[in-house]
Amino acid sequence: MSEPVKKMDDAAAQRVARRRSIAIAVTLAVMVVAFYAATLVRFGAALSGKAL
């Protein structure tokens, strides 16, 4: 609290909300990729031999 702080205006609040949405999207995308990669690694060989 040592520095003076300013009140966040609407435009700044919108920017923060937008950045938060992007961060959530990126996090979810990373988790999807991680789960997909892990599934391929764990079951890849077994799945490739199965008939559809």
């Binding site: 609290m1 040592s2 520095e3 702080v5 300013k6 009140k7 966040m8 700044a12 920017r15 923060v16 950045r19 996090t27 988790m31 991680a34 789960f35 990669a37 892990a38 690694v41 764990r42």
Partner: protein, 307 residues
């Protein structure tokens, strides 16, 4: 939680940056967590697919970061009044308490679920326990109540090698318990060395660190006792077959320096020299732990490559 609310929910908040959120995760602590968990993963018997290994180490690091975020969320009131922590994002009003709490919670759940689903649930459960222990046992319960806060709370920082080991073996072996104990015994002399020269800071905010409650001479004595216990413990991985001769040599030499500094701290009791020696021990203790686990990691990697 009233003070956190006062700090974090005020309507005079600055726009946070990505850097503020990274700072909330205590990146320096995260690097040590990554190193200790990775060393245990490489040294553990068995193997992990590199992709799974990468996911595991990322989840452990993010889980550690989540603990840091939740710790800063809860401690925002005392952080604001301590010189060392006053510039953190919450006390400066760059991040609100609600944002920090949400961020920490999402990271905690995300990291535990990711580790549990993609690696195994023993590791996932250990990570969940670590985060819960750090937040509820250390931060909320012990930190402001007892001078033994970092002795017991230090366990939270000691779990990462155990989690790394569990990722590979799906179990908790005696080897991972030894690695746990090394960090567990290292934590008190490390933090008490810091508390020796930051004593007034802790006193002002009412955190009962050992120098505040028991005095500086008793703290110096305790540092020496824990250091004497730590050094032989740090050599143990060689004798249980977890590490080789390189590790033995490094742990003996580094341990000797650690002990020498602990004795210096014990003997130097007056003026600025006392603070200087405590600082020396604090910074060396960080180097000590980094080096021990780095050598363990490199040695285990070389053994794997040559096998």
């Amino acid at each position: 939680m009233s003070v956190q609310s006062e700090i974090g929910q005020a309507d005079v908040v600055m726009e946070p940056s990505i850097g503020d959120f990274i700072q909330l995760m205590k990146p320096r602590v995260m690097t040590l967590v990554i190193l200790t968990a990775l060393a245990a993963m490489i040294a553990a018997p068995g193997s992990l697919h590199p992709v799974i290994g990468l996911i595991a180490i990322s989840a452990i690091a993010i889980g550690a970061g989540a603990s840091g975020v939740l710790n800063m969320w809860y401690d925002a009131d005392i952080d604001a009044r301590m010189a060392r922590t006053a510039a953190r994002p919450l006390p400066r009003g760059r991040v609100t308490a609600d944002e920090a709490l949400s961020f920490g919670t999402v990271l905690s759940v995300g990291s535990v679920v990711t580790l549990g689903v993609t690696v195994n649930w023993v590791a996932g459960a250990l990570l969940a326990f670590t985060i819960a222990f750090y937040l509820f046992v250390y931060t909320m319960w012990l930190k402001r109540r007892t001078p033994h806060n970092i002795v017991i709370g230090g366990a939270a920082g000691a779990f990462p090698p155990m989690i790394g080991w569990a990722c590979v073996t799906g179990d908790i072996g005696i080897e991972s318990i030894i690695l746990f104990l090394i960090i567990f015994m290292w934590t008190p002399p490390h933090f008490w060395a810091l508390a020796l020269y930051r004593c007034r800071d802790y006193e002002r905010v009412g955190v009962p660190m050992l120098p505040v409650v028991a005095g500086l001479p008793e703290t110096r004595r305790q540092i020496l006792i824990y250091s004497v216990l730590l050094v032989p413990l740090a050599i143990t991985p060689y004798f249980i077959g977890l590490a080789g001769l390189t590790y033995l040599a490094f742990s003996v030499v580094l341990g000797a320096v650690f002990l020498w500094l602990a004795v210096k701290v014990y003997r130097t009791t007056e003026g600025r020299a006392a603070d200087a020696v405590a600082k020396q021990l604090f910074w060396f203790s960080i180097l000590y732990l980094y080096m021990l686990f780095a050598v363990l990691l490199v040695e285990a990697s070389v053994v794997r490559l040559m096998a």
